[in-house]
Symmetry: C2
Subunit: 293 residues, 2 copies
């Protein structure tokens, strides 16, 4: 059984789960395990690892349109080195501070492979689910795509400083809270734009038309991509960008743009027909392959 | 740096952490990593593992005197077998149900060693800390001690059914909520009674006098212990029992006993002098050694 099948199985069993975060009693809760072999390329600092592990969970909180309350993390490594541990915690604290959440500690363990497990908690009385997209809604993303994919290439090329910078993304909590007033469906792009759009379509029982040229591609992708096909792989399929992917009535876009401090790009529109096309061709349901390209 | 040193270092940096669970904004949050090599002896079923992993976190919620709201868990194994995964989730759900919490899912990962990470969330406006014990208070424990230590022996002896039963403890959430009204200091006994008492003494700046004969020792310990010293090791030092260890004014004991459905045993008293003695001898600050005896 692969992870995706297993996750579907669990979602069917657990009505509280299945969106970006579980919802219970005014809280949203999400937990993620990241480990060295698949999530932290050689050259990733412990500071970046702490930032990124906790940031991934805060991104799920953002995707629900919730405010971020706090996060905890488990740090597991073969040896507990004081400097490495302090750096990890500082990264975790700093990403929490960036979204006005509190980092409140966690657990430690010795483990052959460096592993980080983060859990974030947010609050909302009116979460934005994946299931509310309506035909005619604009399909949008925050920020720029391909940032993490480019970073992985840069780690491979030993450009670790720039790669670490790119790996430390700001979870879109503030934008998510504002979008909760207007977006009809929302999730984060951790599985890549293409797979995210497929997931929104499945949950909302709708289709989408994407415009390839509209995608906001990160500058770093332009620097590392070998050709146009590679550029598309990095920006639309690789994922791990932790931007928000959402649908919204066109009429609300200007007001939202005035209120948030992150660019919002319309990349397509919601259709009644349950097909997902990009420039008229079917969009493959192909997503994040851990650490690969 | 060993785990204990590292945990102290973190607690000093993070004011929200350092007790059984972190406290933030009316919530208590706690996270724990358990893995096969140290926490799940051969013969532990996935059902028991799910119960126990989530139960360990719920026990930390109980130790704060909070109600348990929900829990999430990460399940990581070399292969995602459907039956094993379903069993794990069922165990997680059942232990949540036992304390009126909701199990709301989590994350999956492939990992060489079977690893479970649980996070539990509770609510309280008035948490019970480790720091409030006052001279004269009775030192008490819920339930019986040595249950997990005996289980590990039984796993070694291939008595896996009984061992699994013993490994599935009921987190003392209901007792904890009632004790929040009366207890002056509280924690859970996951590190063993002896170490727990040392931790209460350090946080409360007090001492304790224990009576060895007063310890409520689980029947299973009597079955597996080789002699009196072994019996003491299993019941007072091994830990992982997830009972509550607390201090309380003697005058309040009867009322508490009337209200809770778990036995409460007085095992000693709080002293002003900062020394910890059992039957007049210093009590070693010796605690849980993962998987050992």
């Amino acid at each position: 059984m692969d992870e995706r099948t297993a996750l579907r199985l669990l979602a069917a069993d657990l009505p509280g789960a299945g969106d970006d975060a579980a919802i219970v009693d005014g809280l949203v809760v999400t937990t993620d395990m990241l480990h060295e072999a698949t999530d932290f390329p050689d050259g990733t600092t412990r500071y970046t690892a702490g930032w990124r592990a906790v940031g991934a969970s805060l991104s799920d909180v953002a995707a629900m349109g919730a405010t971020a309350t706090c996060a905890v993390a488990v740090y597991a490594a073969a040896e507990l080195d004081e400097t490495e541990l302090r750096d990890f915690v500082q990264g975790a604290r700093d990403v929490c501070e960036a979204v006005s959440a509190e980092y409140v500690g966690g657990d430690l363990d010795t483990h052959r492979e460096f592993t980080a497990v983060s859990t974030a908690i947010g609050r909302t009385d009116d979460p934005v689910l994946r299931s509310g997209a309506r035909p005619g809604d604009a399909l949008c993303v925050t920020g720029e795509l391909g940032r993490s994919a480019a970073a992985v290439r840069l780690f491979d090329a030993d450009e670790t400083e720039r790669a670490n910078d790119l790996f430390r993304f700001t979870p879109r909590v503030a934008a998510g809270v504002r979008l909760a007033e207007s977006a009809t469906a929302m999730m984060d792009s951790s599985d890549g734009l293409a797979r995210s759009v497929h997931q929104l379509a499945e949950a909302s029982e709708c289709g989408f038309e994407l415009d390839w040229d509209a995608l906001p591609v990160h500058d770093a992708v332009e620097d590392v991509a070998t050709d146009a096909a590679d550029r598309r792989d990095l920006s639309a399929y690789f994922g791990e960008d932790f931007e928000l992917v959402f649908t919204i009535p066109e009429a609300e876009l200007d007001a939202v743009r005035d209120d948030v401090d992150v660019p919002i790009t319309v990349v397509g529109r919601t259709t009644a027909e349950e097909a997902i096309v990009a420039d008229g061709n079917p969009l493959p349901d192909r997503g994040y392959t851990h650490g690969g390209d």
